[in-house]
């Protein structure tokens, strides 16, 4: 059993409930025990770092203090929450730490959930429960911005061309396709005030995914998932195309590979139905 602290973040309490369910179930199945951080608060997201550097750092710092007290490494699924927590970590361990209200000694490691899953010890647990290879799924891995950039904050090793998700999905037997837009931006929270920007960016992703022959896009961030999934119809219409890409969480693929029946329910919570794809490749449970 691997014990870790867990920061779900606000979206996973709301619109990304599907991601949350898949994370919590799959972790339990592969022997990761998630301890939700006591009384965690919102990391402030883009709004906080846009309007107040200081408040943004303090919001995340409060969570780090709580996590350090709990004494276990901290895993964070949302790429933006992860990035904000890492930014606070660097400030609290840096030369300006005295300007902030919170203390953090750096005694625990802050993990992006995907990266946590890519450890050999977790893969070994998955292997023990492995039911069937995900043959026929031809995903492109979409990492987005925040889990990797900037490396001075995230401590990422391959920020221009990350490969950990590619390796994990190949390990699950999926026929992963390499592509050049792994870490291109989806526009994130601009979707509210500037959907025009998001539609342009996401269109480029779809166009490339189609050109390289992918049949689905796999993500590890609920913001990327929403931007690619919810507006696919609208984007198709706007650019006169006919895109069909189920947008799947990597945890759902782990679930499929270990034969977890609840996957079906998680998939019905997406806007673009994965059913036609899953049935066409014979992976239905």
């Amino acid at each position: 059993m691997i014990d870790v602290s867990y920061y779900p973040g606000c979206s996973l309490e709301g619109t990304a409930k599907d991601y949350r369910e898949s994370i919590e179930t799959v972790c339990e199945r592969v022997g990761i025990k998630l301890h939700e951080l006591e009384d965690w608060n919102c990391c402030g997201a883009t709004a906080a770092h846009s309007l107040s550097h200081k408040a943004a750092i303090n919001l995340s710092a409060r969570n780090l203090t709580i996590a350090e007290k709990a004494g276990m490494d901290l895993v964070i699924p949302c790429a933006l929450c992860f990035n904000r927590m890492k930014a606070a970590e660097k400030v609290l361990l840096g030369p300006y730490r005295r300007e902030y209200a919170y203390r953090f000694e750096g005694s625990i490691k802050i993990w992006d959930l995907l990266d946590f899953f890519c450890q050999d010890r977790v893969k070994a647990e998955i292997a023990r429960r492995f039911k069937r290879p995900l043959k026929g799924l031809k995903p492109v891995c979409y990492y987005g911005c925040m889990a990797n950039r900037p490396p001075t904050i995230t401590d990422a090793r391959n920020w221009e061309n990350p490969t950990n998700m590619d390796e994990l999905l190949s390990f699950l037997g999926a026929e992963v396709i390499d592509w050049p837009y792994k870490t291109d931006c989806c526009g994130a929270s601009h979707v509210v005030a500037r959907p025009d920007i998001v539609f342009n960016l996401v269109y480029k992703l779809f166009d490339m995914a189609e050109r390289v022959g992918a049949n689905c896009i796999v993500v590890s961030c609920q913001m990327c998932q929403a931007n690619l999934d919810m507006y696919q119809d609208e984007i198709s219409k706007k650019f006169n195309r006919d895109f069909y890409f189920p947008i799947l969480y990597f945890t759902e693929l782990v679930g499929m590979a270990i034969g977890e029946k609840q996957v079906n329910r998680w998939l019905t919570k997406h806007f673009v139905s994965a059913k036609p794809l899953i049935e066409s490749v014979g992976l239905n449970l």
Binding site: R62, C145, M146, R149, S189, E234
Partner: protein, 192 residues
């Protein structure tokens, strides 16, 4: 025929000093290679490119950088910061400029991106966490987007997505709050 005379700019380096002192970001290290701009995904929506913003800061064109669309169009994707050969945190500068614009009340009226951030932080201030449904309602009200959508029929698309969320069980109607709301409120208080 009118001859266009180039406008003369008298550089005012005090702005650069202020920016560097307050943001702790070394904007003066920029040698205008444009690597930041070349990798930026949203230049198509900007009025000035990221390298130009750096140049304007050098020249002391404060009003121009605080008023421009670019700082609000920036998606904080961190590509520029990652790639700058002089390790300048350009994304951090964009944030610094937004923060300054808000403080001075410049360029924030009718600015939907700004309104979204404001409403977001107000929501966090109330409960320590964000409740997406309330956040969206507030945003629609405050920006008048709701009324606009009613008029141009785009509400139908929103309704479709909203109902989709609801039937998929992804829209909890009641917000959750944290126990220590006061502490979070305090963190957010000193920014107004």
């Amino acid at each position: 025929m009118s001859v266009q005379t180039p406008q003369t700019i008298v550089p005012d380096y005090s702005f650069l000093k202020k920016v560097e002192f307050e943001s702790k970001i070394k904007a003066s290290a920029c040698f205008q290679c444009r690597k930041c701009t070349n990798g930026c995904p949203v230049t198509f929506a900007m009025d000035f490119y990221p390298d130009q913003i750096l140049r304007f800061i050098h020249l002391g064109l404060r009003d121009l950088v605080l008023n421009c669309a670019t700082i609000w169009v920036c998606a904080s994707c961190e590509t520029c910061t990652t790639r700058c050969p002089n390790e300048i945190d350009i994304a951090g500068l964009m944030d610094y400029l937004k923060e300054s614009a808000e403080k001075e009340g410049i360029g924030i009226k009718d600015n939907k991106t700004y309104m979204f951030h404001r409403v977001f932080l107000d929501d966090v201030k109330k409960r320590g966490r964000v409740h997406e449904l309330r956040l969206m309602n507030e945003y629609m009200l405050k920006t008048g987007e709701g009324v606009k959508k009613l008029k141009d029929d785009s509400w139908k698309q929103d309704l479709k997505l909203g109902l989709g969320m609801l039937t998929k069980g992804r829209l909890p109607l009641l917000p959750k709050g944290i126990k220590n709301k006061k502490e979070v409120k305090r963190i957010l208080e000193n920014i107004d």
